[in-house]
C-alpha cells in the first residue's frame, strides 16, 4: 500500500518536473524567436539517456548516484501537492529542507569519485552557492515559524485559504521576493548557474556522467524542480485545493524563473553569494523583523 503510494507519487513528481523543463525550453526558444523542441522533449531525453550504455569508474560512483536521486525523492514525498501527503507527517517542511542536501551530497560524492577535477570544481562552486541561497530561505522559514509557531506546511497552506488577499505573497511580500531570488539559485538557473557553467568547466559535475547516470542526474534535477516550486507554491501562493491547481501554480512559478533566467548573464560564485546575502538576505531579515514585532 505504501509502496504503491510511493511509486505513483515519485512518478508524478518526475513527470511534472520533466514537463516543466520541456515547456521551459519551448518558452526560451520562443523568447529567442525560434521554434524550439516539442514540450515533451525532456521525457525523450531521459529515456534516451537510459537507453545508452554507460561507463563508471568505481562502485562509489554507482552507489552515490542512487543516493542522490533517493534523497530528492524522499524530499518530494513531503511536498503537499493538492493538500495531500502520501506519508502523513507533522513536520514536512523540515524534512524537505533536510532531505534535499542529502540528494546533493550523494551526487557530489558520486561525481567526485569519477576523478575529474572539473567535477570537483563544479561541486565546490555549487556548495558555496548553496551557502548563499540557504541563508535567505532559512530566514524566511523562520519568519513563518515566528508568525505561526509551527512548521506544519499543511496548516500554513490552510491559513491562506479564502481568497487571494489571504495569500502570503500579499501578506509577506518581502519574504516572497527573498524566496524567489533564493529559488532562482536553488534551481541553478542564470544568473546563478555557475555550477553547471558549460563553457567554463565543461558542465561541471556532469562531466563524466553518461548513459543511465546522466539519466539519473536529469531525473534528480526534475524532482528538484518539483520540490522547490512546490515549496514556494505551498508557502506563498496558497497551495492548492486540488492537484491541478497546485501544479498550475508551480508551473507559473517555474515560468517566471525561466523568464528571469533567459535575460541575465552568469554571476561568478562570490558575486552570487554576496548578492544573495545582501539583497535576498536583507529582504528576508526585514520580513523576519516585521513578523516578530508585529505579533
Amino acid at each position: 500500500m505504501y509502496a504503491l503510494n510511493f511509486v505513483l507519487w515519485a512518478l508524478a513528481a518526475m513527470a511534472i518536473g520533466l514537463l516543466f523543463m520541456g515547456i521551459s525550453r519551448k518558452l526560451t526558444a520562443r523568447l529567442q524567436r525560434r521554434y524550439g523542441p516539442p514540450f515533451w522533449q525532456s521525457f525523450i531525453d531521459v529515456i534516451k539517456a537510459f537507453s545508452r550504455k554507460s561507463i563508471s569508474h568505481n562502485f562509489i560512483m554507482d552507489l552515490c548516484a542512487l543516493m542522490g536521486l533517493a534523497g530528492l525523492l524522499a524530499a518530494a514525498m513531503y511536498v503537499p501537492m493538492g493538500g495531500i501527503l502520501p506519508f502523513p507527517s507533522d513536520s514536512p517542511l523540515i524534512l524537505i529542507l533536510y532531505f534535499m542536501p542529502i540528494g546533493y551530497l550523494g551526487m557530489a560524492v558520486s561525481v567526485s569519485a569519477s576523478g575529474n577535477p572539473l567535477a570537483s570544481i563544479g561541486i565546490g562552486r555549487a556548495l558555496t552557492l548553496m551557502l548563499g541561497y540557504e541563508i535567505p530561505f532559512a530566514i524566511v522559514v523562520m519568519s513563518f515559524i515566528s508568525n505561526y509557531g509551527t512548521t506544519n506546511i499543511l496548516s500554513i497552506m490552510q491559513a491562506q485559504a479564502g481568497g487571494i488577499e489571504n495569500w502570503h505573497i500579499i501578506k509577506m511580500p518581502f519574504g516572497f521576493l527573498a524566496s524567489l531570488l533564493a529559488l532562482e539559485a536553488m534551481t541553478g538557473k542564470k544568473p546563478f548557474d555557475v555550477m553547471i557553467a558549460p563553457a567554463e568547466i565543461a558542465s561541471g559535475p556532469m562531466v563524466e556522467l553518461s548513459g543511465k547516470f546522466l539519466g539519473l542526474a536529469f531525473l534528480q534535477y526534475s524532482v528538484a524542480v518539483f520540490v522547490e516550486t512546490g515549496l514556494l507554491t505551498a508557502l506563498f501562493l496558497g497551495g492548492g485545493a486540488t492537484v491541478w491547481e497546485f501544479v498550475l501554480k508551480q508551473f507559473i512559478v517555474y515560468m517566471v524563473l525561466t523568464l528571469f533566467s533567459e535575460i541575465y548573464a552568469r554571476y561568478r560564485v562570490e558575486q552570487a553569494v554576496r548578492f544573495l546575502w545582501i539583497y535576498a538576505g536583507g529582504l528576508a531579515v526585514i520580513q523576519l523583523a516585521l513578523n516578530m514585532y508585529m505579533k
Binding site: I60, A70, S89, Y98, I102, G115, L127, G149, N152, E208
Partner: protein, 628 residues
C-alpha cells in the same frame, strides 16, 4: 559489591602507574588500557541502578597539617550521563588504539591515557571541590604530556593548550576560594544551591563567581575567544588520541557549565532578563552562536585535515552552548543529545583518518586522494560520520540539530538562529572537502596496493557507524537517558518515544522518515537496473578535452584537485577573519606584558639606573614616613 566508583578510580590510577613500569612492552600497556576501559564500562553498568549513591573516601594521611580529608563521590544524574557516554566511547577507542599502536606507530601514551581515564571518572562523579580540582588538574597535565608525546612540534602545541588551560585553572581556583569562603561548605551541590539563593542579597558576588567559572569552562571547551587551541592541539596529538580530545575532553567545559553555572540561574533568579532568559545567559548564547559561525568560517579555509576537524569541534561546541543558554529543559535536552552525537561522529571522523594514516603514512590532505577505492570501510565510516555531522537524516545528527533549533525557536531567538544556521550549512563545505581530498578524486600510484584498515580498527569504525544509524532511526536510544536526566533536574521531559520526538513547532518521526529514504533508494536502484549495462573504466580515462595526459607526464596526483578548494569564499571572508583574530589579541597582550617586564628588568640592569631607583624609593619612603 559496593563502592563501585572508588574502586574504578583506584583501578584506573593503579593501572596507569603500573603501565609506566612496563614501558618496554607497548602491547601490554595497551592491553592494560583496554582492560581498564572494559572494567569501567562494567562498573558504569553496575552504577545504572545505583543513582544518587554517595561514596566517601577518607584519606588516611595528613596533608600539610590538615587531618581527616574526605573526598566525596556522588552518582549524580548529569554526571552519570556524561560518564556513561565517555566510557562507552573510550572502549571503542581502546579497541581501535590496540590495533593502531603496533610497532611502527606506537606512541608511549598508554599509561598517561589510563591515568586520564581515572581522572575522567572522578571528574564527572565528584561531589566536593577538592575532588573536582584534583581531577581537573590530573586531567590537565596528563593531556599536556599526551599531546606532546615526545615531539618538539607537538610539545609547542601542547604548551599553547596548557597555558590557555592554565587561565581556566586560575579562574577556577579563584572562584572556588570565593565560594568556599562565602558558603562555608566543601560540597559542590550545596554550595551552588546556597549561591543561587544569594541573588537578591549579594548579586554582584554571584555574578563574579559565575563569570569566573564561565571563563574556566570557556577555556576548556574552546569557546570564543579561546578557540585557537584545538587547531594546534588536536592536530598535533597522536591520531587515536585526537578522537578522544575532540570527542570527550572538550566536553568537560560543557559538563561544568551544565552542573555549576546553569543551576545558578534557576528558579530563584529574579534579575534582569531578555525574552525570559537571564542577561548573562543571553550573552552566553550569543557567544555560542558566534563561536559556531567562527569555527565554521575558519574550518572552510583550512588545508590540513586535522586542523579542519578541530575547528569543526569548536563550531559544534558553539551549537551546544547556544542550546544550553536557553535555560529551558528543551535546551538542556538538545545540549545533551548533541554532546553524545558529537562524541560519536567526531570519533568516527578521526578514527577513519587515523586508519588512512596508519596505512599510508601520509597526513597532508592534498597528497592523499582516492583512498575510498582501496579502503572502503574507512570510507564508509567517514561518509556516515560526515552525514551525521551535517545533521542529515537518517543519522543521529539530524535529531540533535533539530532539537537545537527547536530550543532556539521555543524562546523566539530567531536572530540568534541565523548564525547557527549559517554554521550548520557551512559545515557541508568543509566536510565535503575532507571527504573529497582524502577519499575521492584520483588515486596516486604510490598507494595502488594499500589494504583496507586492519580488523580491530574496522570493528571500531563499524560499531560507530551502526550507533549513528541506529540512533538515527530510533532516537529513543539516546532520548531515553536524556529524559531521565531531565526528569531529575527539572521535572519536565521531552515528549519522545523510541522513534519520534515532539518539539516546539512540530514532531518528527524518524523511523518513518528513514524508511521513506530507504524506499526511495530502492526505487532509484530499480531505475538503475532498468538502464543499459555499464562498464568500468580506469580512473585516468577521463575527460581531458581529448588529450592524453600521460603524454605530458601527468600523473594522477596532478589531476587530483585538493588545494584552495574554496578560494572564492576565502577571498570574500578574508577581511572579517583578519580583523577578528583572538590569537593576535592574546599575542599583543603578551607582547605588552613582556615589554613591561623588560622595562622593569632594565631599571635594575645598569648601575646608574639602579642607584637612581633605590635613591628615589628611599626618598619616597622617608617622605611618607614623615607625613604619616
Amino acid at each position: 559489591m559496593t563502592h563501585w566508583m572508588t574502586i574504578s578510580i583506584s583501578i584506573a590510577l593503579a593501572a596507569g602507574l603500573l603501565s609506566f613500569a612496563l614501558s618496554k612492552w607497548k602491547k601490554v600497556q595497551w592491553s592494560l588500557f583496554l582492560l581498564n576501559a572494559a572494567w569501567q564500562l562494567f562498573a558504569v553498568f553496575q552504577l545504572w541502578s545505583l543513582k544518587g549513591t554517595v561514596e566517601k573516601i577518607k584519606l588516611p594521611f595528613t596533608f600539610l597539617g590538615i587531618e581527616n580529608i574526605e573526598l566525596t563521590l556522588v552518582n549524580s544524574e548529569i554526571g552519570y550521563f556524561f560518564l556513561m557516554a565517555s566510557v562507552l566511547i573510550t572502549l571503542i577507542f581502546a579497541v581501535f588504539s590496540f590495533s593502531y599502536n603496533d610497532k611502527k606507530h606506537a606512541t608511549g601514551i598508554a599509561p598517561l591515557w589510563t591515568l586520564l581515564m581515572g581522572a575522567n571518572f572522578a571528574l564527572f562523579l565528584s561531589a566536593d571541590w577538592i575532588t573536582f580540582i584534583a581531577a581537573w588538574e590530573l586531567m590537565g597535565w596528563t593531556s599536556y604530556f599526551i599531546i606532546s608525546h615526545g615531539k618538539l612540534k607537538s610539545a609547542k602545541a601542547g604548551l599553547y593548550y596548557f597555558i590557555l588551560s592554565l587561565i581556566g585553572t586560575s579562574t577556577l581556583l579563584a572562584a572556588v576560594m570565593l565560594i568556599i569562603q562565602k558558603t562555608g561548605t566543601l560540597m559542590l551541590k550545596e554550595g551552588i544551591g546556597i549561591l543561587s539563593s544569594l541573588w537578591t542579597a549579594d548579586g554582584s558576588f554571584v555574578l563574579t563567581v559565575a563569570v569566573l567559572l564561565t571563563l574556566t569552562f570557556f577555556a576548556k571547551s574552546a569557546v570564543f575567544p579561546f578557540y585557537m587551541w584545538p587547531a594546534k592541539a588536536h592536530a598535533e596529538a597522536p591520531d587515536d588520541f585526537s578522537a578522544f580530545l575532540s570527542g570527550v575532553m572538550i566536553k568537560y567545559g560543557v559538563f561544568g557549565l551544565m552542573s555549576m553555572v546553569l543551576p545558578l540561574f534557576g528558579a530563584s533568579y529574579h534579575g534582569a532578563a531578555i525574552l525570559g532568559i537571564p542577561v548573562f545567559l543571553f550573552i552566553l548564547g550569543w557567544i555560542g552562536a558566534f563561536t559556531a559561525l567562527w569555527g565554521t568560517l575558519l574550518a572552510i579555509r583550512e588545508n590540513d585535515m586535522k586542523r579542519l576537524m578541530a575547528y569543526s569541534t569548536v563550531s559544534n561546541i558553539g551549537f551546544i552552548l547556544a542550546a544550553l543558554s536557553m535555560n529551558t529543559y528543551f535546551g538542556l535536552a538538545a545540549a545533551l543529545f548533541h554532546t553524545v552525537n558529537h562524541m560519536v561522529f567526531k570519533g568516527g571522523i578521526f578514527l577513519s583518518m587515523a586508519s588512512v594514516k596508519f596505512r599510508t603514512g601520509e597526513r597532508e590532505m592534498h597528497r592523499l586522494g582516492g583512498m575510498g577505492y582501496r579502503m572502503p570501510i574507512a570510507f564508509f565510516g567517514f561518509l556516515i560520520s560526515i552525514i551525521a555531522a551535517a545533521g542529515i537524516p537518517p543519522t543521529s545528527g539530524f535529531a540533535s540539530k533539530w532539537l537545537v533549533f527547536q530550543s532556539l525557536f521555543n524562546r523566539h531567538m530567531f536572530f540568534m538562529a541565523i548564525p547557527i544556521f549559517l554554521a550548520s550549512t557551512g559545515a557541508f563545505l568543509y566536510l565535503y572537502r575532507g571527504l573529497h581530498s582524502i577519499y575521492l578524486g584520483q588515486l596516486s600510484p604510490r598507494f595502488k596496493d594499500i589494504k583496507d584498515a586492519p580488523p580491530l580498527q574496522s570493528l571500531a569504525m563499524i560499531i560507530l557507524m551502526l550507533v549513528m544509524l541506529a540512533a538515527g532511526f530510533f532516537p529513543g536510544i539516546i532520548m531515553g537517558p536524556v529524559n531521565e536526566v531531565l526528569s531529575a533536574v527539572s521535572n519536565q521531559a521531552v515528549k519522545a518515544d523510541w522513534t519520534s520526538i515532539s518539539g516546539f513547532t512540530s514532531s518528527v518521526d524518524l523511523l518513518i522518515a528513514g524508511s521513506v529514504f530507504l524506499g526511495a533508494f530502492v526505487f532509484a536502484f530499480i531505475l538503475f537496473l532498468i538502464g543499459k549495462k555499464r562498464r568500468f573504466v580506469e580512473m585516468m580515462d577521463n575527460y581531458t578535452a581529448g588529450e592524453t595526459p600521460e603524454d605530458w607526464g601527468l600523473t594522477p596526483e596532478d589531476l587530483h584537485y585538493a588545494m584552495k578548494f574554496y578560494e572564492p569564499f576565502e577571498k570574500m571572508t578574508a577581511p572579517a577573519l583578519d580583523k577578528i583574530n583572538a590569537e593576535s589579541w592574546f599575542s599583543q597582550i603578551t607582547l605588552e606584558v613582556s615589554r613591561f617586564a623588560n622595562a622593569v628588568k632594565n631599571w635594575f640592569a645598569s648601575p646608574h639606573m639602579g642607584t637612581l631607583v633605590m635613591t628615589l624609593s628611599v626618598i619616597i619612603i622617608l617622605v611618607i614616613g614623615i607625613l604619616l
